[in-house]
């Protein structure tokens, strides 16, 4: 008996969990990102080689790390969903995909904007940029596959398989691209790996990394709630929730109008 009630209890509980976590994530993201960005832009010392252009590192490196991290998290969620038949796991996987893709886009864009003054070209087939580009393709694939199915439960499972195939491939892709890059390397110098970074340069980087992570968490909670509402459109608790939330908003609108 309990086993059958289980999944519904779980989605509702997941929804509540998102609601409680969400404000903390938003506050954390806001605080860390403002501190890290201001520190990185205004207070961190200049790089003796690259001047002030290196300050792009404070968004490029965190977004690059977390774009990979989000994909791995998606694959873990897919695995959990597959092994324990957990519908919420698939939902959180697909909730993470767009924000992961945005992180990949940011890493690519900032990489290009950093490359222009350093290499004189917007795009250079550097190992890290190429890996990021392929990662973006993997994200696109998962999102497109999910979108192609009408039945979202089936869609989640299918996208999960693809996320797992991708995650097995990421290290192989990474390794192959690095290897390919060393073979074909012309005059480009890898500006991205700085073997020794001064601590006053590193701190803002770590804070921003944390800030980006909080941001990903925050957006994921919102999107996971969306996913739950979408799938449980006909459950009484969702209907009650929709009515109460929309009603409270309308009340606010009314009182504003009344005040005028």
């Amino acid at each position: 008996m309990w086993k059958w009630l289980h999944p519904y209890a779980k989605t509702e509980r997941a929804y509540q969990l998102c609601l409680t976590l969400q404000p903390w994530f938003w506050v954390g993201a806001l605080v860390c990102l403002s501190i890290g960005t201001v520190w990185g832009l205004a207070f961190a010392p200049q790089d003796y080689q690259q001047g002030d252009s290196f300050r792009i590192i404070y968004i490029h490196v965190p977004s690059a790390i977390l774009s990979m991290g989000t994909y791995v998290a998606m694959a873990i969620a897919a695995l959990v969903g597959m092994v324990w038949q957990w519908r919420t796991a698939y939902m959180s996987m697909i909730a993470m995909a767009p924000i992961g893709a945005v992180m990949t886009f940011i890493a690519l864009f900032t990489g290009a904007a950093w490359g222009k003054p350093m290499w004189g070209a917007w795009w250079v087939w550097d190992a890290r940029l190429t890996s990021e580009l392929i990662l973006l393709f993997l994200y696109v694939g998962v999102i497109a596959l999910y979108g192609a199915f009408e039945d979202k439960q089936q869609a989640g499972k299918a996208a999960g398989v693809m996320a797992l195939v991708g995650v097995v491939n990421i290290p192989i892709i990474h390794y192959s691209v690095e290897w390919w890059n060393t073979l074909h390397q012309g005059a480009t110098i890898s500006k991205f790996d700085n073997p020794s970074i001064a601590p006053e340069m590193l701190w803002p980087l770590l804070i921003n990394l944390l800030g980006f992570a909080f941001f990903i968490g925050a957006v994921t909670t919102v999107r996971l709630r969306n996913e739950i509402v979408l799938r449980e459109l006909h459950r009484p608790w969702v209907q009650a929730l929709a009515i109460s939330q929309l009603a409270s908003k309308q009340q606010v609108n009314h009182s504003v109008k009344g005040g005028n």
């Binding site: 960005t37 832009l41 205004a42 207070f43 961190a44 010392p45 200049q46 001047g51 002030d52 252009s53 300050r55 792009i56 968004i59 490029h60 977004s63 767009p98 924000i99 945005v102 886009f105 940011i106 864009f109 900032t110 904007a113 950093w114 222009k116 003054p117 941001f215 925050a218 957006v219 919102v222 999107r223 709630r225 969306n226 509402v229 979408l230 459109l233 006909h234 969702v238 209907q239 929730l241 929709a242 009515i243 939330q245 929309l246």
Partner: protein, 69 residues
């Protein structure tokens, strides 16, 4: 503070365009995905209410059909 003046800060040692473009696009992209998620949430809740009303209409129609029979 690494910069002597505000103008200096904005100039970013000559790299102003690249640095500010990167930060601008980054935060714009983050804002877009966040706002899009919230808008979707509101639309979904509206959809729930609409569906419910539709269901009520169908139920009513069926009731009437049964009554007339």
């Amino acid at each position: 503070m690494q910069f002597e003046s505000l103008a200096d800060f904005i100039n970013m040692g000559g790299y102003a365009f690249y640095v500010w473009l990167s930060f601008g696009v980054t935060f714009a992209a983050m804002a877009i995905i966040a706002i899009q998620s919230f808008i979707k949430h509101r639309n979904l809740l509206r959809q729930v209410v609409v569906e419910q009303e539709r269901k009520a209409r169908i139920k009513q129609a069926r009731q009437q059909q049964q009554d007339s029979m």
